[in-house]
Subunit: 135 residues, 2 copies
Protein backbone atom coordinates (compact mmCIF):
# COMPACT_ATOMS: atom_id res chain seq x y z
CA UNK A 1 0.00 0.00 0.00
CA UNK A 2 1.14 3.52 -0.75
CA UNK A 3 -0.26 6.80 0.62
CA UNK A 4 -1.04 9.91 -1.41
CA UNK A 5 -0.42 12.17 1.56
CA UNK A 6 0.95 12.45 5.07
CA UNK A 7 -0.65 14.47 7.81
CA UNK A 8 1.09 15.48 11.00
CA UNK A 9 -1.14 16.47 13.90
CA UNK A 10 0.86 18.53 16.37
CA UNK A 11 -0.23 19.37 19.90
CA UNK A 12 1.80 22.28 21.32
CA UNK A 13 1.22 22.69 25.05
CA UNK A 14 2.86 25.08 27.53
CA UNK A 15 3.67 27.66 24.87
CA UNK A 16 4.45 31.36 25.14
CA UNK A 17 0.96 32.88 25.45
CA UNK A 18 1.95 36.25 24.00
CA UNK A 19 3.22 34.69 20.80
CA UNK A 20 0.07 32.57 20.48
CA UNK A 21 -2.09 35.68 20.76
CA UNK A 22 -0.18 37.78 18.23
CA UNK A 23 -1.64 37.24 14.77
CA UNK A 24 1.24 38.91 12.95
CA UNK A 25 3.83 36.80 14.77
CA UNK A 26 1.84 33.62 14.13
CA UNK A 27 1.57 34.50 10.44
CA UNK A 28 5.30 35.26 10.14
CA UNK A 29 6.28 32.08 12.02
CA UNK A 30 4.01 29.83 9.97
CA UNK A 31 5.09 31.27 6.64
CA UNK A 32 8.76 31.03 7.60
CA UNK A 33 8.37 27.43 8.80
CA UNK A 34 6.49 26.49 5.63
CA UNK A 35 9.14 28.04 3.39
CA UNK A 36 11.90 26.32 5.40
CA UNK A 37 10.30 22.95 4.60
CA UNK A 38 10.64 23.64 0.88
CA UNK A 39 6.86 23.87 0.32
CA UNK A 40 5.38 26.23 -2.26
CA UNK A 41 2.93 28.67 -0.68
CA UNK A 42 -0.16 29.34 -2.80
CA UNK A 43 -2.25 31.43 -0.40
CA UNK A 44 -2.63 32.15 3.28
CA UNK A 45 -5.15 33.70 5.64
CA UNK A 46 -4.89 34.50 9.35
CA UNK A 47 -7.56 35.69 11.77
CA UNK A 48 -7.42 37.13 15.26
CA UNK A 49 -10.23 36.24 17.61
CA UNK A 50 -11.63 38.36 20.38
CA UNK A 51 -10.69 38.32 23.22
CA UNK A 52 -7.92 35.90 22.31
CA UNK A 53 -6.80 33.25 19.85
CA UNK A 54 -5.59 33.05 16.29
CA UNK A 55 -6.59 30.79 13.39
CA UNK A 56 -4.50 30.52 10.26
CA UNK A 57 -4.37 28.47 7.09
CA UNK A 58 -1.56 28.23 4.57
CA UNK A 59 -2.48 26.49 1.32
CA UNK A 60 0.63 24.97 -0.25
CA UNK A 61 1.05 23.21 -3.59
CA UNK A 62 1.66 20.09 -1.50
CA UNK A 63 -1.59 20.54 0.57
CA UNK A 64 -1.82 22.72 3.71
CA UNK A 65 -0.62 23.94 7.10
CA UNK A 66 -3.26 25.04 9.63
CA UNK A 67 -3.09 26.44 13.13
CA UNK A 68 -5.55 27.30 15.90
CA UNK A 69 -4.26 28.85 19.10
CA UNK A 70 -5.77 29.11 22.57
CA UNK A 71 -3.41 31.53 24.35
CA UNK A 72 -5.58 31.29 27.48
CA UNK A 73 -4.49 27.64 27.70
CA UNK A 74 -0.97 28.21 26.27
CA UNK A 75 -1.97 25.68 23.60
CA UNK A 76 -1.82 25.51 19.81
CA UNK A 77 -3.18 22.82 17.50
CA UNK A 78 -1.25 22.48 14.24
CA UNK A 79 -1.95 20.34 11.17
CA UNK A 80 0.60 19.78 8.48
CA UNK A 81 -0.75 17.95 5.42
CA UNK A 82 1.71 17.22 2.64
CA UNK A 83 2.02 15.09 -0.43
CA UNK A 84 5.08 14.14 -2.41
CA UNK A 85 8.62 13.39 -1.27
CA UNK A 86 10.11 16.80 -1.99
CA UNK A 87 9.29 18.47 1.32
CA UNK A 88 9.82 17.45 4.92
CA UNK A 89 6.77 18.28 7.07
CA UNK A 90 8.72 17.65 10.27
CA UNK A 91 10.81 20.74 9.57
CA UNK A 92 7.63 22.77 10.08
CA UNK A 93 6.84 21.04 13.36
CA UNK A 94 10.36 21.67 14.72
CA UNK A 95 10.29 25.31 13.70
CA UNK A 96 6.93 25.98 15.37
CA UNK A 97 7.86 24.17 18.55
CA UNK A 98 10.90 26.41 18.94
CA UNK A 99 9.13 29.66 18.04
CA UNK A 100 6.24 28.96 20.40
CA UNK A 101 8.69 27.95 23.16
CA UNK A 102 6.50 24.89 23.73
CA UNK A 103 7.66 22.89 26.74
CA UNK A 104 5.38 19.97 25.89
CA UNK A 105 4.78 18.97 22.27
CA UNK A 106 3.42 15.76 20.85
CA UNK A 107 2.87 14.83 17.25
CA UNK A 108 1.52 11.93 15.26
CA UNK A 109 1.73 11.19 11.58
CA UNK A 110 -1.26 9.81 9.67
CA UNK A 111 -1.17 8.37 6.18
CA UNK A 112 -3.92 9.72 3.93
CA UNK A 113 -5.30 8.16 0.73
CA UNK A 114 -4.07 4.57 0.80
CA UNK A 115 -3.92 2.65 -2.47
CA UNK A 116 -2.55 -0.69 -3.54
CA UNK A 117 0.27 -0.37 -6.07
CA UNK A 118 2.42 -2.80 -8.02
CA UNK A 119 5.64 -3.78 -6.30
CA UNK A 120 8.37 -1.20 -6.79
CA UNK A 121 5.87 1.38 -8.04
CA UNK A 122 4.82 4.62 -6.43
CA UNK A 123 1.53 6.47 -6.46
CA UNK A 124 3.08 9.88 -6.79
CA UNK A 125 5.64 11.24 -9.19
CA UNK A 126 4.05 9.65 -12.17
CA UNK A 127 4.88 12.25 -14.84
CA UNK A 128 1.22 13.11 -15.32
CA UNK A 129 0.93 14.02 -11.65
CA UNK A 130 4.03 16.15 -11.49
CA UNK A 131 2.17 19.34 -12.31
CA UNK A 132 0.23 19.02 -9.07
CA UNK A 133 3.35 20.07 -7.24
CA UNK A 134 3.79 23.19 -9.33
CA UNK A 135 0.49 24.99 -9.14
Amino acid sequence: MEALGRQILVECYECNEEVLNDVSQIEAILLEATRASGASIISHKFHKFSPHGVSGMVVIAESHVAIHTWPEYAYAAVDIFTCGDTIDPWVIQEHLKLCFASRNTSAMEMKRGMFKVEEGQKLLFKPENAARFGE
Copy 2:
Protein backbone atom coordinates in the same frame (compact mmCIF):
# COMPACT_ATOMS: atom_id res chain seq x y z
CA MET B 1 -9.89 15.26 30.82
CA GLU B 2 -11.67 17.59 28.45
CA ALA B 3 -10.75 18.48 24.86
CA LEU B 4 -10.71 21.97 23.38
CA GLY B 5 -11.42 20.67 19.89
CA ARG B 6 -12.52 17.70 17.80
CA GLN B 7 -11.04 16.84 14.45
CA ILE B 8 -12.64 14.46 11.99
CA LEU B 9 -10.35 13.03 9.34
CA VAL B 10 -12.45 11.77 6.44
CA GLU B 11 -11.19 9.52 3.66
CA CYS B 12 -13.56 9.58 0.66
CA TYR B 13 -12.72 6.85 -1.83
CA GLU B 14 -14.50 5.84 -5.04
CA CYS B 15 -15.99 9.27 -5.58
CA ASN B 16 -17.37 10.93 -8.70
CA GLU B 17 -14.18 12.09 -10.45
CA GLU B 18 -15.89 14.94 -12.30
CA VAL B 19 -17.16 16.50 -9.10
CA LEU B 20 -13.73 16.16 -7.47
CA ASN B 21 -12.11 18.00 -10.38
CA ASP B 22 -14.59 20.88 -10.50
CA VAL B 23 -13.39 23.68 -8.24
CA SER B 24 -16.67 25.60 -8.31
CA GLN B 25 -18.68 22.49 -7.38
CA ILE B 26 -16.23 21.65 -4.59
CA GLU B 27 -16.47 25.19 -3.26
CA ALA B 28 -20.28 25.21 -3.36
CA ILE B 29 -20.52 21.77 -1.72
CA LEU B 30 -18.09 22.61 1.07
CA LEU B 31 -19.71 25.94 1.88
CA GLU B 32 -23.18 24.39 1.85
CA ALA B 33 -22.05 21.51 4.10
CA THR B 34 -20.33 23.92 6.48
CA ARG B 35 -23.41 26.14 6.72
CA ALA B 36 -25.63 23.08 7.25
CA SER B 37 -23.56 22.19 10.33
CA GLY B 38 -24.35 25.56 11.88
CA ALA B 39 -20.73 26.79 11.65
CA SER B 40 -19.94 30.47 11.03
CA ILE B 41 -17.81 30.91 7.91
CA ILE B 42 -15.08 33.56 8.28
CA SER B 43 -13.17 33.09 5.02
CA HIS B 44 -12.59 30.51 2.31
CA LYS B 45 -10.18 29.87 -0.51
CA PHE B 46 -10.24 27.21 -3.24
CA HIS B 47 -7.59 26.34 -5.82
CA LYS B 48 -7.65 24.24 -8.97
CA PHE B 49 -4.52 22.31 -9.82
CA SER B 50 -3.24 21.41 -13.25
CA PRO B 51 -3.88 18.90 -14.72
CA HIS B 52 -6.29 17.86 -11.96
CA GLY B 53 -7.16 18.24 -8.31
CA VAL B 54 -8.66 20.86 -6.03
CA SER B 55 -7.55 22.18 -2.63
CA GLY B 56 -9.84 24.23 -0.45
CA MET B 57 -9.88 25.69 3.04
CA VAL B 58 -12.84 27.14 4.91
CA VAL B 59 -11.95 29.02 8.09
CA ILE B 60 -14.87 28.95 10.49
CA ALA B 61 -15.28 30.67 13.86
CA GLU B 62 -15.14 27.14 15.29
CA SER B 63 -11.84 26.25 13.47
CA HIS B 64 -11.71 24.89 9.87
CA VAL B 65 -12.78 22.56 7.09
CA ALA B 66 -10.16 21.56 4.52
CA ILE B 67 -10.23 19.42 1.40
CA HIS B 68 -7.73 18.02 -1.09
CA THR B 69 -8.97 16.03 -4.05
CA TRP B 70 -7.20 13.58 -6.34
CA PRO B 71 -9.77 13.03 -9.12
CA GLU B 72 -7.33 10.70 -10.87
CA TYR B 73 -7.73 8.34 -7.91
CA ALA B 74 -11.41 9.23 -7.26
CA TYR B 75 -10.23 10.21 -3.76
CA ALA B 76 -10.71 13.21 -1.48
CA ALA B 77 -9.11 13.88 1.92
CA VAL B 78 -11.26 16.02 4.20
CA ASP B 79 -10.47 17.50 7.63
CA ILE B 80 -13.13 18.96 9.85
CA PHE B 81 -11.77 20.70 12.93
CA THR B 82 -14.31 22.17 15.33
CA CYS B 83 -14.52 23.48 18.84
CA GLY B 84 -17.55 24.05 21.02
CA ASP B 85 -20.78 22.09 21.31
CA THR B 86 -22.88 24.29 19.06
CA ILE B 87 -22.09 22.63 15.74
CA ASP B 88 -22.10 19.03 14.60
CA PRO B 89 -19.05 18.24 12.44
CA TRP B 90 -20.55 14.92 11.33
CA VAL B 91 -23.21 16.83 9.37
CA ILE B 92 -20.40 18.06 7.12
CA GLN B 93 -19.02 14.57 6.62
CA GLU B 94 -22.45 13.18 5.67
CA HIS B 95 -23.11 16.01 3.25
CA LEU B 96 -19.77 15.60 1.45
CA LYS B 97 -20.08 11.82 1.22
CA LEU B 98 -23.41 12.20 -0.54
CA CYS B 99 -22.33 15.01 -2.87
CA PHE B 100 -19.14 13.19 -3.90
CA ALA B 101 -21.13 9.96 -4.39
CA SER B 102 -18.40 8.21 -2.41
CA ARG B 103 -18.91 4.45 -2.36
CA ASN B 104 -16.25 3.94 0.30
CA THR B 105 -15.83 6.48 3.10
CA SER B 106 -14.06 6.12 6.41
CA ALA B 107 -13.69 8.67 9.16
CA MET B 108 -12.03 8.96 12.53
CA GLU B 109 -12.45 11.54 15.24
CA MET B 110 -9.47 12.87 17.18
CA LYS B 111 -9.62 14.94 20.33
CA ARG B 112 -7.36 18.00 20.25
CA GLY B 113 -6.03 20.01 23.19
CA MET B 114 -6.61 17.78 26.23
CA PHE B 115 -6.74 19.40 29.66
CA LYS B 116 -7.60 18.23 33.11
CA VAL B 117 -10.66 19.99 34.55
CA GLU B 118 -12.53 19.92 37.84
CA GLU B 119 -15.36 17.41 37.95
CA GLY B 120 -18.53 18.74 36.37
CA GLN B 121 -16.62 21.60 34.73
CA LYS B 122 -16.00 22.23 31.06
CA LEU B 123 -13.11 23.82 29.26
CA LEU B 124 -15.24 25.68 26.77
CA PHE B 125 -18.21 27.97 27.22
CA LYS B 126 -16.65 29.83 30.05
CA PRO B 127 -18.12 33.29 29.50
CA GLU B 128 -14.70 34.76 28.73
CA ASN B 129 -14.27 32.31 25.88
CA ALA B 130 -17.65 32.84 24.32
CA ALA B 131 -16.43 35.57 22.00
CA ARG B 132 -14.17 33.07 20.26
CA PHE B 133 -17.24 31.66 18.60
CA GLY B 134 -18.31 35.03 17.28
CA GLU B 135 -15.33 36.35 15.36
